[in-house]
């Protein structure tokens, strides 16, 4: 049933008559015979029935609200301030599209310009686009961009072995067509990238990629060294960052990054089972790079009255103009997700962003100390959110026990990194409650004792 969405449904006959047609079928007279078929689908339902049906289905999910969860590994349970959700549901934002007509779309344009500006402050690079699909596709596009800058002379992208396997796979899928080679560098004993091995790998590379914090949640104090190795090899240094750390960690732009990618949706957006998200894409002030940059960019200009206004700019890079020669195929991006992130960041301000980082850092350290009493913490380091824990028993058993006690354990690392053995990565954020940790430690102690 769709009548209530379709104003003209009672006027079909009159309108047909108005344009001298006798039936709706006349409008489809050019559809070849024999290819039309009736859909084998249920009839529409009333709004109440759909409401009940969808609620019933979704209520069977266990959520982070009813089950303490220590999952992270690239998706985190942060609190989203109530006003963020209200503002992005303003239907003038929600139901608009890409601001092709800037005069009537100043709201979304200014909001995206502000998003770009705030991200630029956080990551320490001046040029930020108005979003990619997510961190993974932002990284993939960054790899393609730096390779383009070498015009085919360099096709190697160096990445840490310890990165999210999903992200790694996105990178591989995206760069296959351009013939890029992805080379991984192992971690050393402290869980950070092995710089000696990197020196070899970086030779002839187009780009070297590192993350802050790295996949194991580790804040690597010598990330600059990685950038220097990259630059010594003539490669671009691409840094992936969790922006919630940037109140306490130096802006990657000040640590040698030429390109910064990351996940904007950690601000202002719930987990949503993994999407939608928004990829951060930032570059240094380099006109050559800017011309190769993917995605939409909002710029400031003036209107016919000389007033300050905003508009999509540098569009000659994009697919609707350059077609096969565009810097990327991206059209729809994640504008509303980016605006939600911007509203959250604006609400935090400089002090809030620092406090958020501090609370998470302290919570992570506290968590590590508590669980460190009962489980092995394989890397000695300062962690942010994620902490790998190594178990003396198969992790699957630990996981079952935690689930039975109404908790969700961490992300099992043994599939992607068998050399780590029965290791799982647990994560905390500012939302983690002390009683959850108490409950977890108690349960883990029981498992450890049993061993």
């Amino acid at each position: 049933m769709a009548r209530h969405y379709i104003p003209n449904h009672p006027h079909i006959e009159e309108m047909l008559k108005d344009i001298e047609l006798s039936s709706i079928d006349d409008l489809f007279s050019d559809v070849p015979e024999g290819v039309t078929s009736e859909l084998n689908l249920p009839d529409g339902m009333s709004e109440f029935e759909v409401f009940m049906d969808m609620n019933r289905t979704l209520s069977t999910n266990r959520t982070a609200l009813d089950m303490p969860s220590f999952l992270g590994a690239g998706t985190y349970f942060h609190h989203v301030p109530a006003h963020v959700k209200h503002l992005i549901e303003r239907s003038e934002f929600l139901t608009s599209y890409t601001p092709y007509q800037p005069e009537i779309s100043q709201g979304i344009l200014q909001a995206l310009f502000e998003y770009q500006s705030m991200m630029a402050e956080l990551v320490g690079l001046p040029i930020v686009n108005s979003s990619m699909y997510d961190w993974g596709t932002a990284l993939a596009e960054a790899a393609l961009m730096v390779a383009r800058l070498f015009r085919g002379r360099r096709k190697k992208i160096v990445v840490p072995r310890h990165m999210n396997p999903d992200r790694r796979r996105v990178l591989e899928t995206y760069t296959r067509g351009a013939g890029l080679e992805i080379v991984e560098v192992p971690w050393s004993g402290d869980g950070t990238m092995d710089v000696e091995k990197l020196k070899e790998a970086a030779e002839g590379a187009a780009g070297v990629y590192a993350e802050v914090p790295n996949f194991f949640g580790i804040l690597n104090g010598s990330i600059r060294d990685i950038g220097e190795v990259a630059h010594d090899a003539g490669a671009y240094f691409i840094v992936g960052v969790d922006p919630t750390v940037l109140g306490i960690v130096e802006a990657p732009g000040n640590l040698g990054a030429d390109v910064v990618v990351g996940e904007a949706s950690y601000f202002g957006n719930p987990m949503n089972f993994g999407g939608p998200r928004a990829g951060i894409f930032a570059i240094k002030d380099d006109r050559k790079m800017l011309r190769q940059m993917p995605g939409r960019i909002i710029g400031m200009t003036k209107d016919s009255e000389g007033r300050r206004t905003f508009v999509m700019t540098l569009q000659t890079r994009e697919q609707h103009i350059r077609r096969a020669k565009a810097t990327s195929n991206i059209c729809s991006n994640e504008a509303l997700v980016a605006i939600a992130a911007a509203i959250h960041v604006a609400s935090l301000g400089p002090r809030g962003i620092r406090e958020l980082g501090e609370v998470i850092l302290k919570n992570t350290e506290y968590f590590k100390r508590r669980v460190g009493d009962v489980v092995e913490v394989p890397f000695r380091a300062v962690n942010f959110k994620d902490v790998p824990l190594r178990f003396g028993v198969p992790y699957a058993e630990v996981h079952e026990r935690l689930l039975n006690r109404g908790m969700h354990g961490g992300y099992y690392l043994g599939h992607a990194f068998p050399e780590l053995g029965e290791t799982a990565m647990f994560a905390v954020t500012e939302t983690t409650r002390r009683e959850w940790v108490d409950k977890l430690v108690e349960a883990l102690r029981e498992v450890a004792l049993r061993d």
Binding site: M1, Y5, P7, I12, I19, E20, F28, P32, T36, S37, G44, E47, F51, D53, M54, L58, S59, N61, L65, F77, P81, F93, T95, S96, Y97, Q101, Q106, G107, I127, S130, Y133, G136, T137, V170, G177, A178, I248, N272, F273, P276, G299, T301, K302, G306, R307, H320, A324, N329, N333, E334, A335, L336, V337, A346, S347, G349, K362, N363, Y366, T431
Partner: protein, 505 residues
């Protein structure tokens, strides 16, 4: 002259940075679990605070509320942006997507704890399969272009798998969306453009001449971007398949055909859909979208991982057993919250509603075409019968008065109506590409035609009225040439340029 009957709100709203006052905060945070000593390693400790704005919550709310009032959405009025399907976004979709079972669910949770989420994905796939006549779907792509990249990557993997590595060409009609050639190029293909014939459809002879042993596939939008149904679709499919290529359906225009004809029955092997177009999920000022990709059975082993499967023992589960998978085109499983909205919409509509949707979308476009046709200055190239959208050319108007399609677009804004897509498709000069959708009323259509007629009169009487438009929007005509010549891309850049006197605004 009658008033246009519209004034957009204008707030002389500063940048949020300019509203900042030292010491104000717009947040509260939980205290740490314990005040343990820990510090960031020396080498990467932040030296100076980021220069972010400092505002209280009410000020943040006011700022963005004002910005929203200087924006125009589907809820504001007619938004007939061609090929974008700016239909009404039902509110029930938003309500369902706000369920805690959506928002607070982690993608790495044990599948036994996310049966509801997986069921939503599985059910949505069943709907999409039946609507398109495909056998298996991935819901992973974040948008149409991401779906196209998925589709052409599958084409590449399929040919490689069969040892036909010489198939390195993707054929694309000259009327195609720019994303088609861009996606094909990204997947490593050479793009071969097929010209349109005098009917605005694929030139079969040109197609026959173009196909060969290098042909990997043809990407086709049907109805095409002129809103014209590719009548020879069965023959096109035969030509491409006989040459050993695959046929790819760009689903941007599926809103024309729901319940009437299925891509799978027309010979297509792969389709991508745009849930934010056809299935009513809001466009969000440019995203998030969602671009699921469906394939015929013989291609299902190439889909991205994971798929969602169901078995008696396991229930719904994430299925990584896809032997020849192209990999992943996005992290995790796609824009899940968008999927929830699309399924909600489909359940509301059902079979009957889907068909009515396309019927009325097509009726509305043809009604508008007929009413506007013959108006001085606008020309309807190619045949009259359209599907869900129509493309006029303002070429005569430009020639005779100097008023361009862009001017017409800007002047429409003055009436509180969103402009059509302009200057696309590229094969029509001064193109005005109008897609009303099924969500507008007859009065909306009549008013749109009236506005276009009045603009025609103005163009021939007092062209400056049109050329100096818009006047009723928040700001006047925006100087995009200046924006590209002198890029100001952030607040900091602006402040620095302003100090140096490089900008005067």
């Amino acid at each position: 002259m009658k008033e246009e009957g519209f004034r957009q709100a204008f707030w002389d709203e500063p940048l949020i940075f300019e509203l900042s006052r030292k010491g104000r905060v717009g947040y509260t945070l939980p205290k740490p679990m314990s005040d343990v000593e820990v510090s960031v390693p020396e080498g990467i400790r932040r030296r100076s605070e980021p220069e972010l704005p400092e505002l209280s919550e009410p000020e943040v709310v006011r700022h963005y509320t004002r910005l929203s009032q200087m924006n125009y959405g589907v809820d504001s009025g007619i938004y007939p942006l061609g090929s974008c399907t700016m239909k009404y976004n039902p509110k029930i979709n938003e309500e369902i997507a706000s369920h805690p079972g959506v928002a607070f669910v982690h993608p790495y949770q044990d599948e036994r704890t996310v049966q509801g989420a997986l069921k939503v994905m599985w059910e949505l796939e069943q709907w999409l399969k039946e609507i398109t006549g495909m056998d298996r779907f991935t819901l992973q792509p974040a948008a149409g272009a991401n779906g196209e990249f998925t589709g052409v990557s599958i084409i590449r993997a399929y040919h490689e798998d069969r040892g036909e590595t010489q198939r390195d060409e993707i054929l694309v009609p000259d009327s195609a969306h720019g994303t088609n050639p861009a996606s094909a190029a990204m997947a490593g293909f050479r793009v071969v453009e097929i010209p349109s014939n005098e009917n605005g459809t694929v030139d079969i002879e040109a197609l026959k001449a173009a196909v060969g042993e290098r042909t990997a596939g043809l990407m086709l939008t049907n109805p095409n971007t002129l809103g014209i149904f590719e009548e020879d679709i069965l023959e096109i499919a035969e030509v491409v398949h006989e040459a050993g290529g695959l046929l790819y359906y760009d689903g941007a225009n599926l809103n024309a055909l729901l319940g009437r004809v299925r891509p799978g029955d027309m010979g297509f092997d792969i389709v991508h859909l745009n849930l934010h177009k056809t299935f009513s999920t809001p466009h969000g000022g440019g995203g998030p979208g969602s671009g699921p990709v469906g394939v015929k059975d013989f291609l299902k082993d190439y889909l991205p991982v994971p798929l969602v499967s169901y078995s008696e023992e396991r229930g719904y589960y994430l299925d990584y057993d896809v032997p020849k998978s192209i990999g992943k085109v996005k992290e995790l499983y796609g824009n899940f919250a968008v999927l929830v909205k699309a399924l909600t919409y489909l359940k509301m509509l059902g079979k009957d509603g889907l068909r009515m949707t396309s019927d009325v979308a097509v009726l509305n476009a043809n009604y508008l075409t007929r009413k506007l046709k013959g108006t001085r200055g606008y020309e309807l190239p190619y045949k009259e019968l359209r599907k869900h959208e129509t493309v006029f050319s303002a070429e005569p108007m430009k020639r005779e008065t100097g008023v361009t399609a862009m001017d017409v677009a800007k002047r429409l804004l003055d009436f509180g109506m969103h402009a059509p897509t302009v200057y696309f498709p590229l094969i029509v000069h001064e193109a005005l590409m109008i897609e009303p959708t099924e969500s507008v009323s007859r009065e909306d259509l009549d008013a749109y035609v009236e506005a276009l007629k009045r603009i025609s009169e103005e163009a021939y009487g007092n062209p400056d009225t049109v050329k100096s438009a818009p006047r009723n929007t928040a700001v006047g005509r925006v100087d995009d040439v200046l924006a590209a010549k002198k890029p100001v891309l952030s607040w900091r850049m602006y402040v620095e340029m302003k100090e140096k006197g490089e900008v005067d605004y």
